[in-house]
Amino acid sequence: MRNVLSQTLRRTGTSLLVLVGVSILIFAIARVIPGDPARVALGPNATAEQVASLREELRLDEPIVVQYLAYMRDLLRGDLGVSLYTNRPVAVDVAEFLPATLELILVAGVMMVGLGLPLGILAARHRGRWPDHLVRVVSLLGVSAPGFVWAVVLMLAFSYYLGWFPVAGRIDEQYDDLRHITGFLTADTAFQGNWAAFGSAWHHLVLPAFALALSGIGQAARLTRANMIETYERPYIEMAEAYGFPAGRIARRYAFKPSLIPSLTIIGLDFAAMLGNAFLVEAVFGWPGLSRYGVQVILRKDLNAIVGTVLIIAALFILVNIVVDLLTTLLNPRISHAPGGRA
């Protein structure tokens, strides 16, 4: 256990370094903008004074290193600057839009693991036969289209033709004045005991989350299948078969766990990639998450908001990867991430 703890600390340390690197990269990207960033942000109708005052506010007349250090100093105080698009602090904007996106991603992540792993196990147990081929085609199809294509297809089929799910939004209009506590509507409605609103929130959530999860489900199923098949060739499985253990028990108790570990890293990466892919799904379903904000600030070249949003997404991305690393260590004590250790 001490090993796990010290490893977490070390991992967090390197991740912080990487995060500093990310901030430098994003800051550099945002400042190499062709032309005067202040002029671009304010548009052609702004007066010279407005441009000059924004230049001063963004410290554009100072060397880029000074600009960066000043930005980092503000960042450490939780100040991400003011968005030129909403005229509010970027931190406030992100705090408002992020929960909707996180809620979507969390549910999609659960779907990815909950459907992808069983499908992979099913395919591996019946390898070479029709369930295997079916899972292979389905999972490849899932991987082969961007989230927005699945979103359009699912919306057309389940919202318009079958009418099972609402077309857009997070919750029915009548619950709009609901009090927000966490920003996660499924949690907020449950806390307040408003079960009708709770149902409405889930009703709106299922389809976008599934559209977002599809490529992850495919990826998880393919990986689990490949790893399970490798494990099935091990002697101890053969022994279990020779003892006459039921196939289901062999699959669950002996073949699944060792197969899970290599899959987990990639599943973690896929889960984290949803932070980006959510942009596509949110756009189709009119989901009021970070995506609409992100695209708007990018189109308006709102520098503070771009840097702030990307930094927060990158921080979440890194966090997910740390958690996954930890899980793999807990599942398999043989893996050591210590320097000089054997992986």
Binding site: L17, V18, L19, G21, V22, L25, I26, I29, A30, V32, I33, P34, H133, R136, V137, L140, L141, V143, S144, A145, P146, F148, V149, V152, V153, M155, L156, Y160, Y161, A272, A273, L275, G276, N277, F279, L280, A283, V284, G294, V295, V297, I298, L299, K301, I306, V310, I313, A314, F317, I318, N321
Partner: protein, 277 residues
């Protein structure tokens, strides 16, 4: 070779994928001949035939200004494929070279290159491309640059992992003992052993570049009108669901088919080359 053919023959999905990819490449190359209305690739307006459902003349219907969707999809394929090749043509040599240097030379090189790679890999790919596109003008060329900038680290990491394992193998030591230069060892000794993995990844990536480029233009940050693009066609059509379903469904299917085809071929290639050891 015979082994490769027998694996291929036993895998109908790989054959199907190869045919699919061949068909798409051919259709894109011969778009000028196949397309029923070649002039519809540009800014043509035909208000008599706008927003028409699929029929005998317009097999996939027409868009909001009366252009034949089938024609536009063919030309969009052409641009997607060219973009895919261009992105890989730049990012693979860069990524592979950096990976070889980091894996073989080690020490300071390894530290610097792999930390920079970590930084690039710590931003979700789509978000990185989006933020680069955000500061650049949304043109075809810049879209390619943005995607290239996020693509090379994957090859660096892939080759780095192989090279690190190979550098202690006998053949590398033998080359070093007879005084081969570091460049020779990297490119003539280690690189050939990375080729199967690189080729497999490139095939899969052709599909994924198409996917990411279409995602950028879906969000309005990629290829700009009137140049036909699958992603922006889906975006345009999504506002007219469910009545004008063909506007977004056919371009969406076109993306799916292309990526699916490259995935099938890549999967098959992995079996044949045994790239994932």
């Amino acid at each position: 070779m015979r082994r490769a053919l027998s694996i291929l023959a036993s895998n109908p999905l790989t054959i199907a994928g190869t045919l699919l990819v061949a068909l798409i490449v051919l259709a894109a190359a011969l778009a000028d001949v196949i397309a029923p209305f070649p002039e519809h690739q540009g800014a043509v307006v035909d208000f008599v035939n706008f927003n028409k459902p699929p029929d005998a003349t317009y097999i996939m219907g027409t868009d909001l200004v009366g252009r034949d969707l089938f024609t536009r999809i063919l030309y969009a394929y052409r641009i997607s494929l060219i973009l895919g090749v261009a992105v890989l043509a730049i990012s693979v040599p860069v990524g592979v070279t950096l990976g070889l240097i980091a894996g073989y030379l080690g020490r300071r090189w390894e530290y610097i290159i792999m930390r920079v790679t970590d930084v690039f890999l710590s931003i979700p790919p789509l978000v990185l491309a989006l933020s680069i596109m955000g500061v650049l003008e949304p043109t075809l060329m810049n879209g390619m640059l943005a995607v290239t900038a996020m693509w090379w680290p994957w090859y660096t990491r892939l080759v780095y992992n192989i090279a690190r394992g190979e550098k202690v193998e006998g053949y590398v030591l033998a080359a070093e003992v007879i005084g081969a230069s570091r460049a020779h060892v990297m490119f003539r000794e280690i690189l050939p052993n990375c080729v199967p993995a690189i080729l497999t990844k490139m095939t899969l990536d052709m599909g994924f570049v198409i996917l990411i480029v279409s995602s950028l233009s879906f969000l309005g940050l990629g290829v700009q009108p009137p140049t036909p693009d699958l992603g922006s066609m889906v975006a345009e059509g999504a506002d007219y669901l469910p009545d004008s379903w063909w506007l977004s469904v056919f371009p969406g299917l076109a993306i799916l088919l292309a990526v699916f085809g490259f995935n099938l071929v890549g999967d098959g290639l992995r079996d044949i080359l045994g790239a994932d050891r």
